[in-house]
């Protein structure tokens, strides 16, 4: 058995990531960092677990010196560390008995300096208000500042090893698109359609997804973020799905809208607007393109159609490592941001139109990889004509 049997990346790759993190922290005048969010624990330490939400855990390192990071986890989770992480200095605590704050304070003192600006992912779901308070009380000499965006930016451009996982994940996500088209028929429950898609994705080899399958049909189709309800999919209804394939926590998203028979002229018209929005947005996606131009290009057909109010969407979001409950990255493809597409970036885009008063919605999109000269579709139905079961 290898020393770390389920390590997703080499220790060399992790050390290079850590070095980039330390450089970025130093430039931003951080003295050290306490990493808690599971996606960042996985990126830097290789530690792969769902446990961030069950008990506190943390990776501690200084921006300059202080040696390799130290990982603190619950004793129950030590075997998960040993099977995935290159970190050697791993300490454990017993839930509800040991003082996690005191343990972390001691580790920070060892790493030094025990004062100054320290990074904390204050917008992460793993850093609850309660955990943030525990850290503030245990480490009163530290000034905690949000380090989430800095750590996320390190992950925008994927390495070759990461892209291999992204392509594997995309394969699983495309199996789900085929399964959805195969399974859909009027008279089935929304949950049954989800079961067929999830079963196919998982049987293909996917890791668990960070967000439940989104599914809404007919009168529910205007619902964004809607999960399946105990509703029967009727004849001549629109049905949209959003789900991911996952390889070693790298997510690739598929979206599609289908119909059971003819959903009627208004629905077909709305689908046409969404299709044109996706096409125009994708045409604007190329290396060097600004996210503002892309979002505006995707919005133009919607505004021309006179339904600007139906687009509550941002066109795209960066994606990569994800753990429940989210897979959304900090890279935004919208008109309020200032990013530029670079080769090696992975993102998902969607044309999402919701007419709440008419109880009608269409969602189209998928995941894309920015290459040296063009953008490549990885998963999802993409810009296609309406599929009818």
């Amino acid at each position: 058995m290898a020393e770390v049997p389920f390590a997703a990346f080499s220790e060399t790759e992790h050390r290079a990531r850590l070095a980039r993190a330390r450089t970025a922290l130093g430039e931003a005048e951080f003295d050290g960092c306490i990493v808690i969010a599971p996606e960042n624990l996985f990126y830097l330490a290789g530690y792969d677990s769902i446990s961030s939400y069950v008990g506190p855990q943390a990776l501690v390192f200084s921006a300059k010196g202080g040696g390799d990071p130290t990982l603190l986890v619950r004793d129950l989770d030590l075997p998960l560390v040993r099977e995935t992480s290159w970190i050697k200095d791993v300490r454990t605590y017993h839930l509800n008995q040991d003082d996690v704050g005191a343990l972390l304070a001691a580790i920070v003192q060892e790493k030094g300096p025990g004062k100054g600006n320290w990074g904390l992912e204050v917008n992460s779901y793993a850093v609850t208000a309660g955990y943030a308070k525990l850290l503030g009380d245990a480490l009163p000499a530290l000034r905690f500042k949000d380090v989430g965006p800095l750590l996320s930016r390190l992950q925008y451009i994927k390495s070759a090893a990461e892209i291999a996982y992204v392509r594997e994940a995309a394969g699983y996500a495309n199996v789900g698109v085929a399964a959805a088209r195969e399974a859909l028929r009027a008279g089935m429950k929304e949950t049954a359609l989800c079961a067929a898609v999830e079963g196919a994705v998982r049987r293909a080899g996917s890791d668990y997804p960070a967000i439940p399958t989104e599914c809404a049909s007919g009168s529910r189709s205007a619902g964004g973020h809607a999960t399946a309800m105990p509703k029967i999919i009727g004849p001549n209804e629109l049905v949209h799905l959003e789900f991911a394939g996952v390889a070693r926590r790298y997510h690739s998203v598929s979206m599609l809208t289908m119909a059971t028979g003819d959903p009627g002229p208004r629905a077909r018209w709305l689908y046409g607007v969404a299709l044109e929005s996706l096409q125009k947005g994708l045409e604007a996606c190329r290396p060097g393109a600004s996210v503002v131009d892309i979002d505006n290009a995707s919005l133009a057909p919607i505004i021309k159609a006179g339904i600007g109010h139906a687009a509550q969407m941002r066109f795209g979001v960066g994606i990569g490592i994800g753990y429940p409950p989210v897979w959304v990255g900090t890279f935004q493809i919208d008109r309020f941001s200032d990013g530029v597409l670079h080769p090696g970036m992975v993102f998902y885009v969607h044309a999402w139109l919701s007419l709440a008063d008419e109880r009608l919605g269409v969602m189209l999109g998928g995941s894309y990889l920015v290459g040296e000269t063009a953008v490549e579709q990885l998963s999802g139905a993409g810009p296609v004509e309406l599929f009818t079961a």
Binding site: Y53, A195, H225
Partner: protein, 387 residues
């Protein structure tokens, strides 16, 4: 037609709201801002996982006025299909200030408020959102209401128990599938796919925690998700997963051996089952929750292996959303809770032996009634199954 997916009748929600307000008054709270999705669902019916993506909140004052729900505009259709709340307001992500809007709503309902509760221990309340709320409310008004809100949900009504039994049926379908799917030569992910599909095809809603399933040397891991590991003859395996009906979770678990079990595995499994028997026997209406864990440890102490039992014996379970399903009821030696009729909880003995690359998990989900405790689903204290 609105509210077509409201899970309960109006009387149930009126009772819940009355109990919430009574506890707010007892605890001197002028209002609460409920953010965690499980409490949003419990008190308003609003059924969405999107607390994970953006802030949202239900404002309830200690008076008799109607509650107000603030959500992102994107989620309006979800609210309309699932909540009885009529005063629904929306914000635009990245443009409006939801913390400020929530504070304004509190101020309109309760001018001069002094103490406002928020479920601060929820993953939905990030450190940043808590600071934003504290600033927007001002005057040190923000207080933690996690336990106060969580305790409301511990005793289940009969309509809730009906959903819980439905969820137990979905989990049982998965448990039956584990015995068919677990085979040497397959990968953990392939087996997990079959079990998950059985649960979902039976009708289950999505679950809050991914399936935990480990085999062979990986069994020593608590919280281990399946990997592309090929299962071998002689491996131990354990599963933990939930069936879900109307967001009510019921957890199934089992430990099994593949092809054959060594004497060491059989001995440890037998002691693990004895621990479950002893712990469950201490579960009675009016008994301290701590007594159950203490009783569950006795058989382990007798064999000198109590040091391997590093997880708590049990916890309350009910409404849940990703990423967790634990309620505030703790069944551990440090718990101050008293067990009462209508409580639903997971009871399990876990043994973790990293030095031997072995781990066990036995138990299930149980319902306590006036007439005693009954297992809803799980393997309880049954003997080791070899497949």
């Amino acid at each position: 037609m609105a509210r077509e997916y409201l899970a309960f009748g109006q009387a149930e929600y009126r009772d819940r709201m009355a109990r919430a307000r009574a506890t707010m008054r007892e605890n001197g709270l002028d209002a609460v801002i409920i953010v965690s999705p499980e409490s949003l669902y419990y008190l308003s019916g609003y059924d969405s996982w999107t607390s994970a993506v953006n802030p949202q909140g239900l404002v309830v004052s200690s008076g008799e006025d109607n509650p107000t729900l603030l959500i992102r505009n994107y989620d309006y259709a979800l609210a309309r299909e699932s909540t009885f709340v009529e005063d629904i307001r929306t914000f635009r992500l990245g443009i409006d200030n939801p913390a400020g809007m929530l504070a304004d709503i509190v101020g309109k309902k309760r001018p001069g408020y002094a103490r406002v509760g928020v479920d601060l221990q929820s993953p939905a309340v990030t450190g940043r959102f808590a600071l934003d709320l504290a600033d927007a409310l001002g005057g040190g008004a923000l207080v933690d209401a996690t336990d106060l809100l969580g305790e409301l949900r511990l005793i289940k009504s009969s309509p809730e128990i009906a959903y819980i039994r439905q969820a137990a049926g979905y989990a049982a379908a998965g448990l039956a599938e584990t015995k068919r799917a677990l085979r040497a030569g397959r990968t953990e992910i392939a087996v997990a796919a079959d079990v998950e599909a059985a649960v979902r095809k039976a009708g289950s809603d999505y679950w809050a925690i991914p399936m935990e399933f480990t085999t062979g040397p990986r069994t020593a891991a608590g919280h281990g998700a399946p990997r592309p590991r090929v299962i071998g003859a002689g491996d131990l395996a354990h599963f933990e997963f939930a069936g879900v009906a109307a967001r009510y979770h019921v957890t199934a678990m089992t430990t099994m051996a593949v092809t054959s079990a060594s004497k060491r595995i059989r001995d440890l499994h037998r002691i693990c089952a004895e621990s479950v028997t002893a712990g469950v026997a201490a579960v009675k209406v009016g008994a301290p929750a701590a007594a159950a864990e203490i009783a569950s440890l006795r058989p382990l102490e007798r064999e000198g292996i109590d040091g391997f039992a590093i997880a708590r014996f049990g916890y309350g379970i009910g409404v849940a959303y990703p990423p967790i399903w634990l309620e505030t009821l703790q069944i551990s030696r440090t718990s101050a809770h008293v067990l009462q009729a209508g409580m639903v909880f997971v009871l399990h003995t876990t043994l973790t032996l990293p030095d031997e690359n072995l781990g066990f998990m036995q138990g299930g989900t149980y319902l306590l009634t006036e007439t005693g405790v009954q297992m809803l689903v799980g393997d309880g204290d049954s003997p080791l199954v070899t497949v």
